[in-house]
Chain length 400, copies 4
């Protein structure tokens, strides 16, 4: 394990979360310099986290002689320029989500880092929550059979920062802000080698007076036949709803990352303090999470990134993943506009092919077995289909 020294680009909420993670606990890695457009914000950030330097010159931050890794935690429209500058500087780059405002932008970033041959990690924290990591492992180990459906939901009452609301800077509304998480969570469950083929998306702007969507629902069809479903909203009331559900041929997984995690508090009076990200009230029944940076995946994400650099391997979440996510989001926006299924356009598919989920029929006395049920008395009930007539019957048989 090598200790890494980091140039942090940006001083917003996400930079705080990143630095809280890096400087929290007993980690070896440290932020060495921070870049902000304004000296005041940079110096406040520097003081807040005990960082040796700060600067208003992004290029200087990237080229800081003592750092080997640059974290891009800037608004979306600044990712491309920053990533290209890091590529030129030949350092490792970690870029926050979404990678680009659209797939073209993401592709150019991908090509920049691959041409430069630098390490590049896509900071998709919600694919690294401890629950998600363990659930993905269970799925890969076969605990729920073939995945047939994944629902990923992220909704809250809307972002805290002004720039998030400006689609010109971000690329869109909650699809861009939240959907990017959902899409990559879904891909981890359906399998990264399982090609996202096409997308059907519905968007609407129901509450906030903005041009972009404030609500969206999408279906993603994968090559295996599995369906990914995401629901994102900036109009949800009650806090931040962050849940995933996975259905498989042999099992089910339900993950709740935020409002129902085994921590419940009723308080009659204002406590005055921070409750949780996107919390709406400070009295009544509240549902904090224990350690947000751990439960939201930041700890395991940076562990994977720096371990990957040390080990000379790719991280779990790469720029190519970020590109695929952008391509799916592009298809979502096209679909919502055209109100039709839209193919996911990828300049290159690196994932191979995936067979269709297919339960081979079994037979009993020449009849197709539709379903088997174990009865309380130990016998088995079969629902059978006559292949000739198409008629269905049931039959109870002795212990299997």
């Amino acid at each position: 394990m090598r200790a890494h020294s980091i140039s942090m680009l940006g001083t917003g909420l996400i930079s705080d979360f990143y630095t809280m993670t890096l400087h929290g606990k007993r980690g070896v890695d440290r932020v060495r310099t921070v870049y902000s457009r304004t000296a005041e914000r940079g110096e406040a950030f520097q003081a807040r986290w005990g960082i040796p330097d700060s600067t208003t010159d992004m290029q200087a931050a990237i080229e800081h002689p003592d750092t080997d890794v640059v974290v891009v935690a800037l608004p979306n429209h600044l990712h491309e320029a920053a990533v290209k500058a890091v590529a030129k500087a030949g350092k490792s780059v970690l870029c926050t989500k979404p990678l680009g405002r659209d797939a073209d932008e993401a592709r150019r970033m991908l090509e920049a880092v691959e041409t430069a041959g630098i390490f590049a990690g896509y900071l998709e924290d919600l694919c690294y929550t401890p629950k998600t990591l363990k659930a993905i492992k269970s799925v890969h180990d076969g605990a729920i059979g073939d995945v047939t459906w994944v629902r990923s939901r992220e909704t809250h009452p809307g972002p805290h920062s002004a720039w998030f609301w400006d689609g010109r800077l971000t690329g869109g509304g909650p699809i861009i802000d939240l959907g990017c998480h959902c899409i990559e969570i879904i891909r981890n469950f359906t399998g990264k080698g399982n090609r996202p083929v096409e997308v059907m998306c519905h968007t609407d702007t129901l509450v906030h007076p903005i041009d972009d969507e404030d609500n969206a629902i999408a279906l993603i069809r994968f090559e295996s036949g599995a369906i990914g479903q995401f629901e994102v909203s900036w109009t949800f009331r009650g806090g931040m709803d962050l849940r995933d559900e996975v259905a498989g041929t042999h099992g089910t997984i339900w993950l709740n990352h935020f409002l129902r995690t085994g921590f419940e508090m009723f308080t009659a009076g204002g406590q005055g303090g921070y409750v949780a990200e996107k919390a709406e009230t400070s009295a009544g029944w509240l549902f904090p999470v224990g350690d947000e940076v751990s439960e939201l995946g930041y700890v395991d994400m940076f562990t994977d990134m720096f371990d990957a650099i040390d080990d000379g391997r790719a991280p779990q979440e790469t720029f190519y993943d970020g590109y695929v996510v952008n391509a799916v989001m592009d298809a979502c926006y096209r679909s919502a506009k055209r109100r039709a299924w839209e193919p996911v356009d990828l300049f290159e598919w690196r994932g191979g092919t995936t067979e269709r989920i297919a339960a081979k029929p079994t037979y009993h006395d020449g009849q197709v077995v539709i379903k088997r049920e174990l009865l309380p008395d130990g016998r088995e009930k079969l629902i059978l289909k006559d292949p000739a007539t198409g008629d269905f019957t049931d039959r109870v048989i002795g212990p299997r």
Copy 2:
């Protein structure tokens, strides 16, 4: 309150649930005769529930001199004939869900009862669960503002009876079996006067060797802009997943009707008994419900039906509602086939018009207010949009 005497048509699982409800507790209404195609099943049912008569002649059951209400609890393909026979007999009719196999069939049933001028109730139990009734009331009282989105989910590992699997008899797969519940639950939350305009549906057959779908997801767009979303499956593992979620401009409702209702049991050994409808295991962690016929809505449903007869009013769930549900399901099947949004075709819309959900923008110093957040120190943070430039800024102001 008048005591009603009932002719029960059918002796399957649903007839058992109905009669358990009617004869349970201290109710005044009683099943007087039961019809089954086979004498053996009819007599067993008669004995099981202490019913005076049974018959294999459906017409005789309908015309039984002592009954005033006929409950149609037959497989779907037999509803139309039965309802028409009751209409001819001039008795009140209560028909199980779905009303028809398609909207044409449902429309003919609707016309038959309206022409005959008889009381007709649509036995949509899940719109009558105590939780649903109270939640609908809260929504109508304005507790969550305007409804923007409703998710209704019903999934389990597949039906117990053979005929359910035969699309020729039922009209389809889980859309017909389970989606009919979801659609009407959604309508109750979005408002029955809120017209379902169009539908986008995806279906697939992933696990069972049948011709109909075993999984489906649909979006229903209502006139107000609200979206209804249903998910139905015959391949879910873990029991019966029966949940509704409602999002509004000022609140949220989550209902769980089956697997997580505050009753949790771990048992190391086989208990040998009935756990719950569609339960998959009899050991390990189990999640029974307290009183299934009450929690699944049967008690309140029959209460509404018989009270409505006594009061000379329409019940909450009418044949017209059943017809609308069939029309939405027809649109789902067309949409799944054409892979496109499909209009919901209704021969007649009885619900009036509904205004679009629309938050009128408010202004602060000539800027559009996008969002207000209360800060811990009592001040307020505004996200503002300049109507001229489209630029977003934030500003913190004193206590409101």
Copy 3:
């Protein structure tokens, strides 16, 4: 089934719940007259529930010529006189909980009804919640083995009516108000034939300026060795916490009757309506129950009572049960005062004897088997004790 006609004594909250239950749904039984000390309250109650008569003369209500059942829903200090008057009138009597203010009072009531030979039912609703009934049945069917421990908890911020706070009228604080429920719930799980032998109780008055306790915790040791544990409070914040936990040698049951039953609502603004009994807030996250009179046991309780009258059998909850509960509460108060274990004094034990929970030791190669664990590879790990030396070792053996 015979229709019963009821004299309701009392017009408080509990009379409302009772009459809502009796007149709700499609029940045959009806309240015929109501007694209140003041004409105004009696007439309001009469109008509220459509009752033919009301009176301020308790004796007249009891002797009403058309009623066969009298429900005693009066403050505790009036139970004895009312029950004795009903016994004299020779009608069936149903008395709300607790039966008496102490065991002596309860015993006199028990003797009055037994001498008169009338039907007498103890209205202990929380032993009749659908969850509790099903859980009790599972326990009796052996689903969790021998019961070792039952926790019953009922806490809320304090009663709504003034007289509840006056120990002279009630007999005490939350032990009398809430503990009576818990004790009888515990008895149903440990077995009614399982004698409550002794009690250890701690009480304190921490928040309210009253002479009686506002918090209490008690342990009840049963003949089998099982422990019942109850926690009652009038200082709990957050609503009404109503939970039971049952541990057995082969399983576990957790029941949540109120705050977490699968109904969750967030509302930003005041809805203005009734949320739930003892709810503390009308905004933020709320946790209503579906149908309170059903989920709190009233429906099944009256069903059992009237069915028992019709069938000429004892109800599940008898006056003797009410007497035992009072005797346990008396022991609790003595224990809290003396700060020591106190025997439960019963003038007569009608329950027989119960054997001690006792797992007979099994042996492996002459060693006592302490525990068996199934390993992932299918082998079994044994924790063994050498009976000679008392030394412990572990050993892994092949598949059982």
Copy 4:
């Protein structure tokens, strides 16, 4: 932040958890050598965690020239000798829980480290779970008012290792194994300066053929009047039940650390892998936790310990805390034997005094206000007590 180099004494399950924590993520601290009684186990542990050295000589491990911290992760009966040897070596010592088998042993360890002047930390992981840390902070910030009651529950089907069952080596049954956690959790919520005055404990041996208890319940009365309640068991079925509940005069906290944390999985078939500590089944509904070493507190515990060493301050959990816990457990065993409240004997109380929880009565028109309730119409209902007569009345008044 200094990097620490550690001598690990012991190679059991707890050493694995400790080393998984220390070597996990990107931490600077490393285990340098490990001691085991048998070379085979030591070498396996060394290989498993990539540790440079292993030894069967405890003294050599303690005196290893490159280490500055010694972690005592040995069976309870070996703690005292190990701690004294570290004290003699003048290194920092971190000792697993419980500190001693009884208070005398714990006191001698406390005196040894204080005499030697070394840093000593008590490895009480469950006081460091992220949920617990945040909840303790909320309590200290006043979110729930004065703490009146804390319930801490830890139960499972019994330990995996043979030595745990031998009371001669451990000091007792689940009180020693699990109660030590509960007591210190309770102290953190009631306040470490709040003296535990006396204890009432009930123990029994219901299932396992051992001499020590396999079930225990205890009440701890603190100087403020607050009650701590713990429930421990080696006979619980269903996994590991790890919950805390805190009641305060103005709020409530419920923590669930293990079986219900927002991760729910149903699997039809054996997955073959590790599910969770103390899991009982590998099929059906399972409830894993995300990252056990984080959620069980190990990460934050070691962070606090090493940060405390670096900062020259005491850790949250000290040897004095461990001593107090042992003193409470001693009182529990005495109480269970004598069946009476027993004082907690402490050779020295370092916590100062705590005032009794006491709501000063308020008055309205010369009457004591017992309770205030806000009515739906905005008015307020007062329950009042006449100080002269002791009579209770209620009165509705205008908006406060």
